[in-house]
């Protein structure tokens, strides 16, 4: 076995032509003024890569470039190395296998973002100390106060009544290290709404207090928010979306900026779907609490429907259920949520 090669000695950029012969366990290099033997085991061979010339990195720092791939392959075979990269190479060079890899890529990515990431984020969220979570919550509240919130108009004694209801939900729980607190804010942007911040703070808007026709409806909403707090939803959401961002940044690292919009989309989609699962978890917690207190689940269903109407959601549209709009909306369709409460005919 013999081949022609370019030889670069590593000390100058001069190029010379040599011929390479495999002689037993040695590589015999012969050129105009060269006659060298190198033990095969000490030669590093560049992995096969498309039609790029193969390089032999010789132990004395010199390099030989070989045009054809077969000589290098036979050296590798003799060395007993390089099987990983040669199978990688075969895979890359076969268009059918490349498309199979594409299909596998998409499904693996989808499966991971859908199933794997939430589990990892949950683990991580429960490992973070409550004090850290609480300080994140305070920072968030500051930002919201500057951007979306205005001070409440609720009377002091009404606030105290609602705080007592809220405290009642929190007392029976095993979350003793959690500082539950209820805050009141007015918000023209958010309208009737309630938010669970990281750390245990729940914010209720004046608009929601007005919308509710019975205190038991507010209890249902507060229980739902405490469900979010107990399951560390805010923190999990942050971890999930920033990890998705990291994955996307790594994958598109070799893509120029024109695709940044395409890169943002999966993050958005993933965010939305995580929220839906979390809403369901919070609904389940609220339902359990209401049943324990002997409050009819109708109250929860009633406030959900009224919330939906207050946001101008056409009910017949949401009844259609699944579809891309369903996937994109952060909350599960109201009808679906009510159904889960076991109130199909409502």
């Amino acid at each position: 076995m013999e081949t022609e090669a370019f030889y670069y000695d590593g000390e100058s950029s001069a190029r010379s032509k040599v011929s390479l012969v495999l002689a037993g366990d040695n590589l015999h290099l012969r050129g105009a003024d060269l006659d060298l033997y190198f033990p095969l085991a000490e030669i590093r061979i560049s992995p096969p890569l498309a039609s790029v010339r193969r390089s032999l990195y010789l132990p004395d720092g010199a390099v030989c470039e070989i045009a054809g791939g077969s000589f290098a392959a036979s050296l590798e075979h003799r060395q007993g190395k390089g099987s990983f990269f040669s199978s990688l190479h075969r895979w890359e060079m076969n268009l059918k296998r490349a498309f199979a890899a594409l299909a596998a890529t998409i499904s693996v990515l989808g499966l991971f973002i859908h199933f794997g990431l939430p589990i990892l984020a949950k683990r991580a969220a429960f490992a973070i100390p409550p004090a850290t979570e609480a300080s994140l919550g305070i920072e968030t509240l500051h930002i919201l106060d500057r951007t979306l919130f205005e001070p409440t108009n609720l009377a002091e004694n009404r606030q105290n009544e609602l705080r007592a209801l809220f405290a009642a939900i929190g007392t029976g729980l095993d979350d003793s290290d959690r500082a539950f607190a209820l805050m009141f804010r007015r918000s023209r942007h958010l309208g009737a709404n309630a938010l669970a911040l990281p750390g245990g703070t729940v914010v209720l808007t004046d608009e929601l207090e007005k919308l509710a026709e019975h205190d038991e409806e507010i209890i249902a909403v507060l229980a739902h928010e405490i469900g979010h707090v107990r399951n560390r939803h805010a923190l999990r959401q942050v971890i999930q979306s920033s990890t998705t961002g990291l994955i996307v940044a790594t994958l598109t690292g070799d893509v120029f900026s024109a695709t940044s919009l395409a890169a943002a989309l999966p993050t958005m989609l993933a965010d939305a779907s995580f929220s839906r699962n979390m809403e369901r978890e919070a609904d389940d917690f609220a339902a359990a609490y209401l049943q324990q207190e002997g409050i009819p689940l109708d109250r929860f269903a009633a406030i959900l429907l009224r919330l939906q109407e207050s946001r101008g959601g056409a009910s017949e549209h949401e009844d259609q259920g699944a579809g891309i709009t369903d996937y994109l909306s952060t909350h599960p369709a109201t009808a679906e949520r009510i159904e889960r409460l076991g109130l199909d005919g409502y």
């Binding site: 370019f6 670069y8 000695d9 590593g10 000390e11 100058s12 950029s13 001069a14 190029r15 105009a32 003024d33 060269l34 560049s46 992995p47 890569l49 498309a50 039609s51 790029v52 010339r53 390089s55 720092g61 010199a62 390099v63 470039e65 990688l88 895979w91 890359e92 060079m93 076969n94 268009l95 490349a98 890899a101 594409l102 596998a104 890529t105 693996v108 990515l109 920072e139 968030t140 930002i143 990281p198 942050v238 920033s242 990890t243 961002g245 990291l246 994955i247 940044a249 790594t250 994958l251 598109t252 690292g253 070799d254 893509v255 120029f256 900026s257 024109a258 695709t259 919009l261 395409a262």
Partner: protein, 416 residues
């Protein structure tokens, strides 16, 4: 004419001298500009830094046996050696897709290997004088940098979400370490790039890096932006001048005035664009309003897009002109780079690439990348009267990949 280009190591002044006029035994010359005496190498005309180092390096690197061809100065005449890119989209598609899959399956841990494979493909398909470039980075060194970068990225994205104070602090910190990152990543990339088995190198100068990438940018608001062209000039000069190929340093002789000219032209175009959009908004719109109501409704909707396209074009104009200026002002001993990118070609390339990538949901990314590389390298060449055989190697150590990878994950582009 048999010319030898002699370069002064002190001030970079260079002149081509007829071989017949150089006495056969002359080894020293006096620079006509700075009056500095120096010894020069008869093979490539490069002045040695000091006679002493010349002597020691001659001892350390024994002249290779007769395999060096005799310096072919007799045949020297100015010729242009183009860079040639031989990669194609089909090959790169396979590499790209397999890389992507393995990155996902390994939760990103494969990305250093993927990066090395991608770089090896692009370097290995870049030929100069029928010799390809080689990327030699160790994926394990990249992995360490990747892990640090990933940690910082998570910290940053969580921080910006929750704490303006923390994100501000991280922003300042990033600003402070940026010059360091620039130098480290340049060092890492150069030392791991080779051509004809000679590695590139970079002479780190943190002081200059902080001037070009921290102090001068800080001055921008105080000078109402008038310093920006100079800042860019200093950055390009810093990145080029400190490069070397083996023992041979790069030289950079572009003038800051030319950089100002590019920005002044771009500013003129900007004023024109602003004037046009103002005119269309204030004059055209009322006229249209009274005549064709539907046209008036469409125009305001399209105006932002037109403006956006205009600004992108301006950005590209500045980028292309600066790239050409930078390369054309760069020499390596007597070999000069020639870059001839055209704004209109690049605009077409970027626009069509963006459209193709968007419409194919990213599947045409490999095609777009290869296309861009082919155009850019096809418009870069080296002009020389000599041969590319006469460079000497340098013994250089290893350098960590942290700078390179952090810059990568935060999307800091410090390319030329």
């Amino acid at each position: 004419m048999n010319g030898l280009s002699i370069t002064c190591p002190q001030c970079g002044f260079s002149r081509t001298v007829d071989m017949q006029r150089i006495p056969a035994r002359a080894v020293r010359a006096v620079c006509p500009r700075c009056r500095q005496g120096f010894s020069f190498d008869r093979d490539d005309g490069r002045g040695d830094q000091a006679p002493k180092t010349a002597a020691t390096s001659a001892e350390a690197v024994p002249p290779p046996p007769a395999l060096l061809p005799a310096p072919p100065l007799e045949t020297a005449s100015l010729r242009r050696i183009p860079f040639v890119f031989t990669g194609n989209a089909r090959e790169y598609f396979g590499i790209w897709i397999v890389n992507t899959l393995l990155k996902i399956v390994s939760l990103g841990l494969y990305s250093p290997w993927a990066k090395v494979r991608k770089r090896k493909y692009f370097y290995g398909n870049t030929l100069l004088d029928d010799a390809h470039f080689d990327y030699l980075a160790d994926p394990l060194a990249l992995l360490k940098g990747w892990l640090i970068g990933a940690g910082l990225f998570i910290l940053y994205s969580v921080g910006t979400r929750f704490s303006p104070v923390l994100s501000g602090a991280l922003g300042i910190l990033f600003f402070l370490v940026l010059p360091w990152l620039v130098v480290r990543s340049r060092l890492f990339n150069n030392r791991n790039s080779s051509h004809r088995n000679i590695r590139f190198n970079f002479t780190p100068s943190y002081r200059e890096a902080y001037t070009a990438f921290a102090w001068l940018p800080l001055m921008t608001p105080f000078t109402l932006g008038a310093i920006v062209p100079y800042t860019v000039y200093r950055q390009k000069r810093f990145l080029m001048e400190h490069n070397s190929f083996g023992l041979t340093p790069f030289a950079f002789d572009a003038r800051s005035g030319d950089f100002y000219l590019v920005f002044v032209r771009a500013f003129g175009l900007l004023l024109l664009l602003g004037g046009l959009s103002f005119a269309s908004a204030s004059v055209l719109l009322p006229v249209l309003n009274t005549r064709v109501a539907s046209a008036a409704a469409i125009l305001p909707a399209f105006l932002p897009f037109l403006l956006m396209a205009g600004y992108l074009f301006l950005g590209l104009y500045v980028y292309v002109r600066l790239t050409n200026l930078t390369w054309n002002g760069t020499r390596i001993s007597s070999h000069r780079f020639v870059s001839s990118l055209r704004v209109r070609d690049m605009a077409w390339l970027f626009a069509s690439n963006a459209l193709a990538v968007a419409l194919s949901a990213g599947l045409l990314v490999p095609w777009a990348t290869v296309r861009l590389a082919r155009y850019r390298l096809g418009h870069l060449a080296i002009e020389t009267c000599g041969e590319l055989d006469l460079f000497r190697a340098d013994n250089i150590g290893e350098v960590g990949a942290t700078g390179e990878e952090i810059g990568d994950i935060f999307g800091v582009d410090i390319g030329i």
